[in-house]
């Protein structure tokens, strides 16, 4: 009984981790770009939402209507203006440039907002819960986050495998030069992909900040969760990312149940086990 509860709560938390991971998986899948600043963009989105909801007097959820487009635009411009210049056979430039961006964002947030712990508010939904059959109470908000993660992934999966834009994404990922021959402007497609990645990052950041507290230095560990979810899931499909997130969430929940100090460590251990047993993840890409 207790364990079922733990696994359900952990699985739901995995929905949030999957949302963290989508942006990372997208930019790696399409541009082979690992964005070290990914976690800091999650936190940046939370701060933007905080300003928007305070400024307009709306709830954090409603602020998504502003934060998502804003982060999409930021992602587009960042890729077009900076990150496209770093792509090539050498892995150092993208890595070190996003690393630099990460440090810049963290310290700008620190200068602007101080090191205080912040939280976003979304009203009554934060505390409501429903009773599942079997008497297990789950929070409405975690459930909502999980459902959103499933919807997002289904949507991405559809766009990727059923639309012209998705074909262009996959073609640019396979062979950017040949994609250009088809009329695909790779700089634009990459920027779009980063825009989309950043839109999901915005959603993840706001939901995360409603669920837990955050501060300017909260980014790196979110990058690590996202990374672990991606590696556990493998790069075969976005559904793998969801499974990866859920495994990470469940491992953390089990760890936390044993002892609070074990929560995060248990997640890392799950990651290590997958890395050692099956380095390409549970749902690997068949070709790379």
């Amino acid at each position: 009984m207790g364990w079922v509860n733990i696994i359900i709560q952990g699985g739901l938390l995995g929905g949030l981790y999957a949302l963290f991971a989508i942006g990372l998986a997208l930019s790696f899948g399409i541009m082979r770009l690992v964005n070290i600043a990914h976690g800091d963009f999650i936190v940046l989105s939370a701060f933007v939402a905080m300003i928007v909801s305070a400024g307009l007097g709306i709830s954090a959820i409603a602020s998504l209507a502003v934060v998502i487009p804003a982060m999409f635009a930021l992602g587009y411009l960042l890729q077009r203006g900076i990150l496209n210049l770093t792509l090539g056979s050498d892995i150092l430039p993208p890595l070190l440039v996003t690393f630099g961006i990460s440090v810049i964002i963290q310290n700008l947030l620190l200068e602007g907002f101080g090191a205080d712990i912040q939280r976003l508010h979304a009203g009554a939904i934060e505390t409501e819960s429903v009773i599942l059959p079997g008497g297990i109470a789950v929070g409405v908000f975690p459930l909502l986050v999980f459902v959103l993660a499933v919807v997002c992934i289904a949507g991405l999966q559809f766009v990727f495998y059923r639309t012209g834009l998705g074909r262009a994404f996959r073609a640019a990922s396979d062979d950017p030069d040949t994609a250009e021959l088809m009329g695909v402007d790779k700089r634009h497609i990459y920027a779009l992909a980063m825009g989309v990645a950043m839109a999901f990052t915005a959603l993840a950041g706001v939901l995360f900040a409603i669920r837990t507290t955050f501060e300017p230095s909260s980014g790196p560990i979110r990058l690590i969760y996202a990374f672990e979810a991606v590696i556990i899931g493998g790069l075969g499909s976005f559904w793998g990312t969801l499974v990866g997130g859920m495994i990470l969430g469940i491992a953390q929940a089990i760890g936390a149940a044993l002892s609070p100090t074990w929560q995060i460590l248990a997640g890392h251990i799950a990651f290590l086990v997958v890395l050692i047993v099956k380095p390409s993840g549970l749902f690997p890409r068949t070709r790379d």
Binding site: I36, L92, F99, N107, I231, I264, L275, P279
Partner: protein, 337 residues
Amino acid sequence: MAGARVERGTRASQLWAVGITIGLAALVAMPFWGDPGDMRLVAEMAYYLALAQLWNLLAGYAGLVSVGQQIYVGLGGYTLFYLTDRFGIHPFLAIALAGPVCALFSIPVALAVFRLRGAYFAIGTWVFAEIFLLVVSIIPALGGGSGLSLTPSIVRSISSNRAGREMAIFWMTLAVLVVVFALVYWLLRSRHGLALTAIRDSEPASASLGVDTFRTKLLIYVVTAFGTGFVGALIFLQKLRISPEAGFSLNDWTVVVIFMVVIGGIGTLEGPILGMLVYIALRELLADFGTIYLILLGAIAVAVMLKAPGGLWGWVVHRYDVHLFPVRRRLRFEKPD
């Protein structure tokens, strides 16, 4: 026909060797002419330069972009505190053991993270640093979350008075810097150095030529862990206290080190020196403005990576064609007369 010869030394490098010897001699004598504040700054510059050179060996020469070198700084520090406190070993002996201990730990870490490629390798090393931090925080013998301090008796075993202790540590730090430079220099001039260049240029090609890329990279990773642990033990001997947050700090032991190397010029022995000087200068100049210096460093590193990937030293070489540490073999064509 013009003859050709392969040479590694250059005129500039010979001058530089003389300059370095004089400079080092002046630094060794510093306890007799400098004040303690300056000595502390010089010691800090020395260990940062050592860390930068080690990271440069790893990332710039072996292509292993680790974001987790704080593992070995922390581990080295903890080795010192644990061995001295638990077994009453003399601090200097404990520092000498910090290197081997870190090298030992680095092997299983390497076997796991080497399964990740490129950028994923970077984040993988970072995850390991988190793991080390968390595990150390829950081990009571290592002081848990609050860490350990050196006991007064151990501190006194270095020297009975404060000035004597600071002098000893200062000299040790300079010695470690020299050892690290010599180690990296020797490695790069050995056949491993050639293998590294080949791997960096094209891993598949060098593998097909019989270069054992895995073993070469493993060797570099372990050697770097060894050196980093050594430096880490020294750093915390100066600080007299260690905690998981301080020992395994990403910002202090990796972020700024990466910035130094990138700004100075990654993949050169000279670059980290320049980068370290830029870092110290910025930090001291902007000491009153919080973390602005970090933002500035980050921005400079990004700009360097985008506009001048060779860094400051790359620019100097391009401009003046000087090489101070000739690790590359240069083919010189002699005039026929």
